[in-house]
Amino acid sequence: MQQEPNTSTDIDICKLEKKPSKLKWTMMALFPLVLFVASLFLGRYSVTPSEVAQILGQKLFHLPFATTWTDSAEAVVIRVRLPRAIMAAFVGAGLSMSGAAFQGMFQNPLVSPFILGVSAGASFGAALGLVLEWPAIGIQGLAFIFGLLAVGITYFLSHIYKATPILMLVLSGMVVSAFFQAMLSLIKFVADDEEKLPAITFWLMGSLGSIGLNDLAVAAIPIVLSMIGLYLVRWKLNVLSMGDKESRALGVNNERIKILIIICSTIITSTAVAFCGIIGWVGQVIPHFCRMLVGPDHKVLIPATMLVGAGYLMLIDNLCRLLTATEIPLGILTAVIGAPVFAYLLRKTRGGWN
């Protein structure tokens, strides 16, 4: 059934494929770029724009600028704003991609990347670390490990006869989440009221404020690698979203792809939660929104969620640190902004099925 492509068919194909236009892609790429640059220039401590530019030029690109700025200015730009903005971009992109991947895998546009229990497990791990008074790195480590552990348990609970049906995954995820939530409550109960309980509460509300260059170096690698993993299998998500039976009929090794997606998503979300607390509503809202923008084809949806997610979280994080003298916890703003946006999208798309 070979057919020589002729030009008129070519043009038809492009239109029929409904690919997003170059303009759309440009807008989507500019969004995080503009926000990244803005994040470096904005802040409650005033650094003039030219100072910011010079600091960046000298420190990152080794341009020969004379040091006319204060140590504080340099510290703010390089050690406070830069790692924070980059981390926001990575986490925003990562959570959005995970959300999109899960929504495809679970054939449901309402799924969040936390559905398999990763946030419940990581919350428990972090609370445990806080109560044991481990140093920051211990708390992050425990959060990460328990996040992975929770998903591992979910997977093995739902694995039957060499297959992992979606329904089993969802139900097992619910069970495992409930279990770790209960354990979290137990920890809150034994934690004292003055220090540890508020510490747990604040940690869970999420913040990007403590991200320094060292944190970024550690967190960037697993997140970026996992994002690459999800990016590479984005086409397979289309097939997977048609159902196990059909994707197998189309030659997809379901189990392998599912495991890959689960591992990549879990690494991203576990790392994100370990360093930044619980950031909800990003993994659900951004894929939904992007589907409205570029359509359901994961080939374009996944990169779109990456760009829009990065920009979105940078935007929200800027609000968190600029609006008031104290930091607004990130999880609160993502919920306060995300939930109404999600409600609006639901109404607009009537559930996202059409």
Partner: protein
């Protein structure tokens, strides 16, 4: 001597050891033929279908494609050889029909590959050949059931398989859509594609089938060429109800159809 494309040998299947749904099934499907699989609800027709396509594992016996056991095929190898058309259904996301058809190229793509422009063109040209090109940019979830079934057939053709299995392709479809789908299957068969089709409708067998296998509650009732096997006795035994076969002449051809006798 026509080549045997698909061969089921000594197959038996049961969800547990003691209760086998059926056993000692032997079917040979020769290249270019169209085998219809008939049987009442609950006889294990669907189970047999799933065993043929490798979804279920047989308790004993084996299924051979081109002489090679399907257990020796990798998932994508099997998909390049055997296409499966399921009953139409809705998708969770509003893919366009062209996007759905294009998914048929997946068995030919590597783990991290995405379809090229060539793949998209191929999908479109298949849709043109089937006469459904006008559906290309329509949302898969917005077209009729029959149109969806045709899109799924187009998708399977995109796989460039050596044989196609149809799972009750005309259930849930109205007259017109049934006719649309059946014509397409007939055309495929006439063009030389090996086809296995399960069906609820014995009448369709006369329209498109070359061979038939009738599965009843006690096992395989009869199998063989349509002219020999489609008898009142066999049909009645298969379905457990008295069936009468009628003939009608139209345009020089003898059309046969059957009808269960009501009490």
């Amino acid at each position: 001597m026509t080549k045997v494309k698909l061969s089921i040998q000594n197959a038996s299947f049961g969800y547990n050891e003691n209760r086998l749904i059926w056993h000692d099934i032997n079917i040979d499907v020769s290249e270019g033929s169209c085998l219809c699989l008939l049987g009442p609800n609950g006889c294990g027709k669907t189970t047999l279908f799933n065993c043929i396509n490798g979804n279920y594992r047989l308790n004993s016996g084996d299924v051979f494609v081109n002489g090679k056991s399907i257990t020796q095929f990798s998932v994508s190898q099997l998909a390049r050889t055997m296409g499966i058309v399921f009953q139409e259904h809705s998708a969770p996301f509003p893919y366009s029909s062209l996007e759905v058809v294009r998914m048929g190229r997946t068995p030919h793509l590597g783990l991290f590959e995405t379809p090229s422009k060539q793949d998209t063109l191929r999908a479109y040209s298949i849709m043109e050949e089937m006469g459904i090109a006008h559906l290309a940019d329509k949302s898969y979830t917005h077209i009729s059931g029959g149109e969806r079934q045709l899109v799924l057939i187009a998708r399977t053709l995109c796989q460039e398989p050596e044989m196609i299995l149809f799972d009750e392709p005309t259930s849930h479809l109205d007259f017109k859509n049934q006719a649309m789908v059946l014509s397409t299957v007939k055309k495929l068969s006439e063009s030389g594609m090996t086809i296995v089709m399960t069906s609820h409708f014995p009448n369709h067998v006369w329209k498109i089938g070359s061979d038939v296998a009738m599965l009843g509650y006690e096992g395989m009732i009869a199998q063989g060429p349509v002219e020999e096997v489609m008898t009142e006795a066999n049909l009645s035994r298969t379905y457990g109800v008295e069936v009468k076969i009628y003939e009608a002449q139209a345009g020089g051809k003898t059309n046969r159809f059957c009808d269960p006798k009501l009490d």
